[in-house]
């Protein structure tokens, strides 16, 4: 019995020591993946470009706030996470951080004092960034961003998520693959695209599904779940390859144009993607947007034609709307005939939507999105579709397409039953094949604050 107690006591001591070590022993920081020359310095503008590619401002600049001064609330299932101040202010920002400190945050998710960052900071992806880009970004934040004194609210999640040391264990599960970039594509353009998508662009953070512990289920080309479609809040982030890919019928030029301007002949960037276009993608070079598009298309095999650059501002460019195709012909015929006994959803479509999206469901190029085959319409997540009908949607003004294009909302014109009927119609019209929406679904979205 004594022996047994001794063993138990020993195990307890061992456990406590292990727990203390787990909590207190500093995390081993990942070393630079590349040794740069001692006098290496970024090119002018390089660091800002990396900031854009990494979309740092999307989280670290609050609405109406100073650049990079933090304070934006990021909703998570565990509670609100407050984005930190990353200006070089010594007390409230990262002014006291060394390059090694900065790299540890990006690559290992650890602050200089050893505190684990919440993985809302996408170090699962940033860890694939090159040493050059990390150094350039550090240089930009330290020297080109104005220091702003801004004490950001402490993130206070509920138990057990407030115990940040637990993230250490999470990291053992979540962080897979070596730090640094490991190209799969042999083609230099696609490799560049892969780098941007996997690393700074952190596309997988939304477009990959999450696994049982809420880690990204696929961070690397070749991972089974990579960009196979995810969920952000109530919004679906569509699959970007595979049979359900939202972009399977898009050309590289159309996809790159969407990234650069938030709109193309098929679709428009709503919700979070609109912010990504506004803060990040519109500021990237044509070559980089084309590279990402080529890489994404390459995930499914044939890349198709790759343009050298996106078309410059056109000298007046007319784009006729497309006629209905075989899958959409029957719906188009019903809407055109406009029989008084047509179903309610179809009638509401005719009265409210067809002026822009047409009886064909094809919309009009670059301005009114296609509804046929539109993943926002057919997604298992119905809240975005309902939200767009209720509250409208808007696209950011971009250099390439400056029109602040907005769709109006219909919350004041259509009731829950009507929006349910309309949504259900859209989800089965023109060959769309998705289940109906209930009035209760609409009521729930109406009761929630508009997401975008």
């Amino acid at each position: 019995m004594k022996t047994f107690l001794k063993i138990i006591a020993g195990l307890v001591v061992l456990g406590v020591v292990a727990l203390l070590a787990f909590i207190l022993v500093p995390v081993q920081r990942t070393a630079p993946t590349e040794q740069l020359a001692a006098d290496w310095a970024p090119q002018p503008g390089q660091g800002e470009y990396v900031m854009r590619a990494g979309d740092c401002a999307a989280c670290h600049t609050a609405p109406g706030g100073e650049p990079m001064a933090g304070g934006r609330a990021i909703a998570s299932p565990m509670g609100t996470i407050w984005a930190t101040n990353i200006t070089p202010d010594a007390e409230t920002g990262i002014g006291g951080w060394s390059l090694d400190d900065f790299r540890a945050a990006l690559v290992d998710g650890v602050a200089p004092d050893g505190t684990h960052l919440y993985p809302a900071m996408p170090y699962e992806n940033y860890r694939f960034m090159s040493e050059e880009d990390i150094r350039a970004l550090y240089d930009y934040l330290m020297n080109e961003v104005a220091p702003v004194r801004n004490e950001v609210a402490e993130t206070e999640l509920s138990f057990p998520f407030n115990l940040r040391f637990g993230i250490r264990a999470w990291n053992w599960v979540a962080l897979r693959g070596e730090a640094g970039f490991h190209p799969e594509a042999s083609d230099a353009l696609q490799a560049r695209g892969q780098y941007l998508v996997e690393g700074p662009g952190h596309c997988a953070a939304c477009h990959s599904p999450r696994n049982a512990v809420m880690a990204q289920d696929g961070v690397h080309a070749g991972d089974a779940g990579f960009l196979a479609g995810g969920v952000v809040g109530d919004w679906g982030a569509p699959a970007l390859h595979g049979p359900a890919s939202a972009v399977k019928d898009w050309s590289v030029a159309a996809l790159a144009g969407y990234l650069a301007s938030g709109r193309n002949v098929h679709s428009a960037a709503n919700g979070e993607m609109g912010l990504v276009v506004a803060e990040s993608l519109q500021h990237l070079s044509d070559a980089d947007n084309i590279a990402m598009a080529a890489f994404l298309k390459g995930l499914d095999g044939a890349v198709g034609e790759v343009p050298q650059e996106l078309a410059a501002a056109p000298s007046g460019h007319a784009m006729p709307p497309e006629p209905a195709d075989a899958a959409g012909r029957e719906t188009a015929r019903m809407l055109t005939e406009a029989q008084p006994d047509m179903p309610l959803g179809a009638r509401l479509y005719l009265d409210n939507c067809s002026g822009c999206h047409f009886v064909t469901g094809k919309g009009a190029p670059e301005i009114f999105p296609e509804l046929q085959g539109n993943t926002l319409v057919t997604s298992a997540q119905t809240a975005p579709l309902i939200s767009v009908i209720l509250h409208g949607a808007s696209l950011p003004s971009t250099a390439r397409r400056p029109l602040h294009l907005a769709m109006q909302g219909y919350a004041d014109r259509l009731g829950d039953d009507e929006i349910a009927a309309l949504s259900s119609f859209l989800r089965e019209a023109w060959g769309n094949d998705a289940g109906p929406v209930s009035a209760g679904d609409v009521a729930a979205v109406r009761a929630a604050a508009p997401a975008h």
């Binding site: 007046g316 460019h317 409210n352 822009c356 009009a364 003004s397 397409r401 029109l403 907005a406 014109r413």
Partner: protein
């Protein structure tokens, strides 16, 4: 004591079509620009939201988008013998208000003048001799030619997104277009829109009569469209709510769809609304302007805004008013012919025929502002002025341009205007009527001019502008000629009832019914400082750093809707500022 703000390179007065054009083109030169807009801000979403925007009572009848006469108006009289009274209730013409100006609530009819119209005095002299010019008519040549303006018309049409079909492509006459138009260097940016039944019926009648029908040139999108600034339009759905409304569907050419969001992105451009410019301030030597003084509605105070360049781009009547108040020239005296400001105010001479068919269904709720088939067979360059006894011409158009029920229920004469008889008439005729319109030229005359009113003042204590205007025999004769040609054509279509509406000789100007908002002239372009208020670059003769945009520059009015010429002249002017003026500010002529 007025507040004084920091000096700008350019101050723009009025943010409609021409203010937006000047803004974006000069902002691209890197200049620091402030635009001052009297009215409110407005954008497609949320301000033109469907279906709220297509409220005919609010916008079509009660004119919610227009200038409020209590804030700004003119006084009107028909001749020097009368006492002018304030235009207190909008009727004859509807100046716009707010960002986008008239470019937001127009119908979208975008025409170029015929080349002959820009050198009309020479054209008359060469063909019939100056002796056919009636006493009292101030017939002039524009100091700029069609050939010079052609690239700028083309560019404006690309920016504005115009649908149509070229009839004269670099001199080659093309089937389906207007054979009598000036040459075009390029095809229209967008193809023509589909036509409605009334316009097809009119086209058939015109072809049978040997005329040359073509579709109106439309600032209405027939396809999705991206313009040279990357701005966008979506295809029109023919709802019929164009004039007096903002377009909820990004389909109508306007500063909102063509320019403003691109302009607002530019860090060196700023605009302020509810900021009404009261006068342009001149330097002591009177040869340049030092800036403008405006009323800041939010701060309830006057502000002096210094600037190196002043662009006057408010509505034509407001431009003239500001110039008169600021001493940017001498007021025109019709008796002596001296002075230039307020000279050659002109308008439009319109008429039409309504046709009623018991058995035809026109679906009048389907249309758009620039819908229709036109002919130019009786236009300025087709008419024999010597034989006909007038100078001028018109274009004809037929096509539903207004699907709005309150104001668009034409009834045969004699139908009761209320009660059971009216109801019966509406029941019988709604949807069974079509019309053909004649949109005619208007010459300039000594009698028709603008000056400051001796009696009435506005809320800032400034004298109102006085409009002296009446119809003149030359234009009325032109109108009667159009009637004599249109009635037989209309009769050939075999309507059950047909009625004409053309002003006849002796007609007096009536300011109450709506006629048109094509108010032109008043700060006209001229070869010399003696004849007009601005030179060929629309630079004021008085102060070389003041440029005046818009239809106030028209020497006399053309037979067409003015926007195409206004837009072309605006690009012509900013080109002169960019390439000639900025490097060496001076009088360019």
């Amino acid at each position: 004591m007025a507040r004084q703000d920091k000096k700008r390179d350019v101050v723009i007065v009025g943010l409609g079509w021409t203010g937006s054009i000047a803004g974006i083109e000069l902002a691209r030169e890197g200049l620091d620009i402030l635009a001052l807009e009297r009215g409110h801000d407005q954008a497609t979403v949320p301000d033109f939201k469907y279906p709220n925007q297509i409220d005919e009572l609010k916008y079509g009848v009660r004119l919610k988008m227009m200038q409020k006469p209590s804030r700004q108006t003119v006084t009107v009289r028909r001749s020097g013998d009368e006492t002018a009274l304030p235009y207190r209730s909008l009727g004859s013409f509807l100046p716009g208000n707010g960002v986008g100006g008239a470019g937001t609530h127009w119908n979208g009819l975008n025409w170029r003048p015929q080349p002959e119209e820009l050198r009309l005095r020479s054209y008359v002299a060469e063909n019939w001799g100056e002796e056919i010019i009636p006493e009292g008519m101030n017939l002039g040549d524009y100091p700029v030619s069609y050939d010079e303006l052609e690239p700028f018309f083309t560019h404006f049409e690309k920016v504005a997104g115009i649908s149509g079909k070229a009839g004269n492509l670099k001199g080659e006459i093309r089937e389906g277009g207007n054979p009598f138009e000036g040459w075009r260097s390029e095809e229209f940016p967008m193809p023509p829109l589909p036509t409605t039944y009334d316009s097809s019926k009119f086209r058939d009648a015109c072809l049978a009569a040997g005329y040359h029908p073509f579709q109106a040139s439309a600032g209405i999108a027939s396809t999705a469209y991206v313009n040279p600034y990357g701005m966008q339009m979506g295809p029109c759905n023919f709802c019929g709510f164009c004039e007096r409304y903002g377009c909820y569907q990004y389909s109508k050419s306007s500063p909102q769809t063509a320019i403003l969001d691109a302009l607002k992105r530019m860090p060196n451009f700023e605009y302020r609304t509810e900021s009404e410019v009261l006068r342009v301030e001149l330097a002591e030597d009177g040869k340049t302007a030092t800036g403008v003084t405006y009323w800041d509605e939010a701060a309830q105070e006057e502000v002096f805004q210094p600037a190196d360049i002043v662009i006057l781009s408010s509505f034509s009547l407001n431009n003239v008013h500001l110039m008169l108040l600021s001493g940017l020239g001498e007021a025109y005296d019709p008796l002596t012919g001296t002075g230039t400001l307020g000279k050659n105010y002109a308008y439009q001479m319109n008429g039409g025929v309504s046709l009623f068919f018991e058995d035809a269904e026109f679906n009048p709720f389907v249309g758009h502002g620039a819908n229709g088939v036109c002919i130019d067979d009786f236009s300025v360059n087709q008419n024999d002025f010597g034989a006909l006894g007038f100078i001028g011409g018109s274009y004809w158009r037929s096509g539903t341009f207004n699907g709005q029920p309150i104001r668009s229920m034409p009834l045969p004469k004699g139908t009761p205007s209320w009660g059971a008889g009216w109801k019966e008439g509406i029941g019988k005729w709604y949807g069974h009527a079509m019309s053909i319109g004649s949109h005619g030229s208007h010459m300039a005359y000594a009698n028709n001019h603008l000056d400051l009113d001796p009696t009435y003042t506005d809320r800032h204590g400034r004298p109102l502008m006085r409009m002296t205007f009446n119809w003149q025999d030359n234009d009325l004769k032109m109108n009667q000629y159009q009637k004599s040609r249109m009635e037989p054509l209309a009769a050939s279509m075999n309507p059950d009832v047909m009625q004409s509406s053309f002003k006849g000789i002796g007609a007096q100007y009536d300011v109450r019914p709506y006629q048109t908002t094509h108010n032109t002239g008043g700060h006209i372009m001229s070869e010399t400082a003696r004849e007009g208020a601005v030179n060929r670059y629309c630079q004021t003769w008085k102060a070389h750093n003041v440029f005046a945009m818009g239809a106030g520059n028209f020497v006399q009015n053309t037979q067409y809707n003015p926007t195409g010429l206004v837009g072309g002249l605006a690009y012509w002017t900013v080109q002169a500022i960019r390439t000639q003026y900025l490097s060496n500010p001076r009088p360019l002529v």
